[in-house]
């Protein structure tokens, strides 16, 4: 009976840990920025003369290997995905605009600084969260 209680307690702890970790990855705020930016994602834009010769998959994601100049940041900030979300009217600026999803959410400002220091990148920025105006 004691063993059953022990396992039940362990199970509760595991569920709680899983729940808390899920909640953490789900959150939309970054403590360092007053909760007004999306967590775990940033945008960056390549310079206008950067060749558009990378391949974009149907789900808009791009193989991380296409971005050789990001190798260091991919490891350091645990970048898990790069997508090209916007292709409106094939605008050449939007076709060079990418979204990065990364795990080290608390280091978002350091990631932005690192990206902005890369010569191929025109700018990198956090993504604001909008509010209703009623």
């Amino acid at each position: 009976m004691k063993t059953v209680k022990k396992y039940t307690l362990l199970l509760i702890i595991i569920v709680a840990v899983v729940f808390v970790s899920c909640k953490t990855t789900e959150q939309n705020v970054t403590p360092s920025t007053s909760g007004e930016y999306q967590a775990g994602v940033v945008m960056f834009k390549l310079k206008d003369d950067y060749p558009l010769n990378f391949s974009v998959k149907e789900d808009k994601s791009i193989d991380l290997k296409e971005f050789k100049f990001l190798e260091k940041e991919i490891k350091k900030f645990e970048i898990v995905q790069i997508t090209r979300p916007f292709d409106l009217f094939d605008d050449p600026k939007l076709l060079r605009t990418f979204k990065i999803a990364f795990k080290k959410e608390k280091n978002i400002d350091a990631l932005i600084d690192a990206l902005n220091a890369i010569p191929e990148i025109e700018y990198a920025e956090k993504i604001p969260i909008k509010r209703k105006l009623k």
Binding site: E26, N28, S34, E36, Y37, Q38, M43, K45, D59, K60, S61, V80, Q81, T83, P85, F86, D87, L88, F89, D91, K93, L94, T97, A101, Y123, E125, K126, I127, P128, I129, K130, R131, K132, L133, K134
Partner: protein
């Protein structure tokens, strides 16, 4: 008997022919009101026993013109209380009906005449049968539509189903009885493999929200999810709720095709705004209404919107509700909100029923280009309900809790620049219905150049004031060439044009840098010559023009449009 019927029909047809308006849809053909200057002696003889007619010979200085334009009758129709101005206002009937503008221009060359004008045709104002287009509890629930002269505008133009007006918002219940948005025009975003992916068919709030919940006074402000999730549905109704369907409310843009694009996640975070704008633009939106904002701008948003603008899509956004206090740490009140703050977006402030900016509304340069109703009814400087009534996802909460008899229906009141924004977007839908290729810049110009002034004492905005739907639609119709004459636009004395009439050369004198473009339009509104960046004194060669009346359209450095007329002879 057959002969009698035929003769009767012929008689009716001939009567109709006499009364028909063949030249102008807006003015009475073959008739002018002419006002003599106030010092013109009242010595002309009026035949009071014969319809107050006046013999042409009483005005010898006009004999030549009377003959030229076939004047058939002159009368002093108006003599109310022997008002001296009315006694000098004459009605002139003439046969050269197609030359009315030319006749007016020539009359105005005489110093004895203060003004000459075509009488406008009044129409029975369209009065929709929607039950809430009227009063509830003896209070005017349509004050926002009255203020912008919606019923006058509907007489001119109805929304076209080929024009799509997109509402990008938290969520939109497309199945509302007063919206009925086609499933192809509804979209939300779901993460597929971590990537937000557009999914058509619905833009409704998450299924976890109990649409039929009833909130009480204590829970309304803290836990009334169905009302909170009604924002986008409310905005959609203001832009284009179905009008004259015997249900609910009327809307300024009724007849356009609404699109509902949900940009919130299930937890309510408004993060898919760029994806939502892109989807709307890719799927045919002509107008995009954005009742959201933040003081934080991002270059990606700027580029998405710029790309849409460059394709002729009219972008409208709410100016923000933090005119007096800021909820954003580090930002002073009345900050510039984005997307409203981008220069290619029409930013909309909110006014109350007294035509003053709502206290909450952002104001001033860079914050708002135009204003529209979005606030409260004001009596003796006090704000009262109703605010703005429209469609909702929830059953009536706010107005029920504040004592209105409205309840158990999917309509409710809200206020904010969020509400002003879709009213302007709906009007832009009407402008595009009148002129489908209207550019965003032209739409903004029509809104601003025809605006009603804000009441004195109001906080200012960049533009001229509050939208005037009737005049703005007229402006779009003129751009489309449907009317041809820009009589409704401002005439000023800031610019001199001489000689008039002119033969080969026309001189235009203005302040240095005041005018950035001069266009010569014919009476059908077609541009026949253009002069860019004119000097303070510009010489226009008009020798190639055929004789007749022309319009000079001046685009000033502040984008104000001034129209003047001249005669080429």
């Amino acid at each position: 008997m057959r002969k009698f019927i035929l003769l009767s029909l012929l008689f009716l047809i001939s009567i109709c022919g006499i009364e028909a308006q063949n030249v102008s849809p807006h003015y009475v053909d073959g008739m002018l009101y002419v006002k003599l200057t106030d010092n013109y002696p009242l010595t002309f003889k009026v035949d009071v026993d014969n319809g107050r007619t006046i013999n042409e010979s009483e005005f010898p200085f006009l004999q030549e013109l009377f003959a030229k334009y076939g004047v058939t009758l002159i009368a002093q129709e108006f003599y109310l209380f022997d008002d001296e101005k009315l006694l000098r206002t004459l009605t002139i009937w003439f046969s050269e009906v197609e030359k009315a503008d030319e006749f007016i221009a020539e009359l105005l060359l005489h110093k004895e005449i203060e003004y000459a004008e075509k009488p406008t045709i009044k129409k029975r104002l369209f009065n929709p049968d929607d039950p809430y287009y009227g009063q509830i509890d003896n209070l005017n629930m349509k004050w926002h539509l009255d203020m912008i002269k919606a019923s006058y505008a509907w007489d001119l133009q109805w929304g076209s189903p080929t024009i799509k007006v997109a509402i990008v918002d938290d969520a939109i219940w497309g199945g509302h009885e007063d919206l009925q948005i086609s499933s192809n025009n509804l979209c939300h975003f779901k993460k597929v493999g971590g990537v937000p992916t557009a999914t058509t068919g619905s833009a409704s709030p998450p299924s976890s929200v109990n649409q039929n919940m009833t909130c009480n006074e204590s829970t309304f402000y803290t836990n009334c999810a169905a009302y909170d999730w009604s924002h986008g549905t409310h905005c959609a109704g203001l832009a284009g709720a179905i009008t004259n369907n015997g249900k609910g409310v009327a809307s300024i843009g009724s007849g356009v095709s609404l699109m509902g694009v949900r940009m919130s996640t299930d937890d309510g975070s408004m993060i898919y705004y760029n994806n939502a704008v892109q989807w709307a633009a890719q799927n045919g939106a002509k107008v995009i209404s954005m009742s959201y904002g933040s003081p934080l701008q991002d270059q990606t948003e700027r580029q998405v919107l710029q790309t849409a603008y460059n394709r002729g899509i009219i972008l409208v956004a709410a100016a923000g509700n933090e005119g007096e206090e800021s909820d954003y740490e580090g930002y002073e009140p009345n900050y510039i909100s984005y997307p409203a703050g981008y220069p290619f977006v029409i930013s909309v402030a909110s006014v109350n029923s007294n035509k003053k900016l709502s206290s909450f509304s952002q104001y001033g340069p860079g914050r708002a280009d135009i204003a529209a109703p979005g606030g409260f009814t004001v009596i003796n400087n006090q704000e009262y309900l109703p605010n703005i009534l429209s469609t909702t996802y929830c059953k009536t909460q706010f107005l029920r809790l504040t004592g209105f008899s409205l309840s158990n229906v999917y309509y409710d009141g809200m206020q904010g620049t969020s509400m002003a924004c879709p009213i302007v977007a709906g009007l832009c839908g009407l402008l595009a219905s009148a002129y489908p290729t209207i550019t965003p810049a032209q739409a903004k110009e029509c809104l601003q150049s025809t605006a009603q002034p804000l009441a004195s004492g109001s906080r200012p905005i960049d533009g001229n004031g509050i939208i005037n739907a009737y005049s703005a639609v007229l402006c779009a119709q003129e751009l489309a060439g449907n009317v041809g004459i820009c009589d409704k636009l401002t005439l000023t004395n800031q610019i001199s044009v001489y000689p008039n009439p002119a033969q080969d050369i026309l001189y235009v004198v203005s302040e240095e840098g005041e005018v950035k473009k001069i266009e010569i339009l014919d009476v059908a509104g077609r541009c026949v010559a253009t002069e860019l960046m004119p000097k303070s004194e510009t010489i226009l060669s008009i020798s190639n023009l055929t004789n007749g009346l022309y319009l000079l359209k001046f685009t000033c450095s502040n984008n104000e449009i001034i129209i003047k007329k001249f005669i080429k002879q």
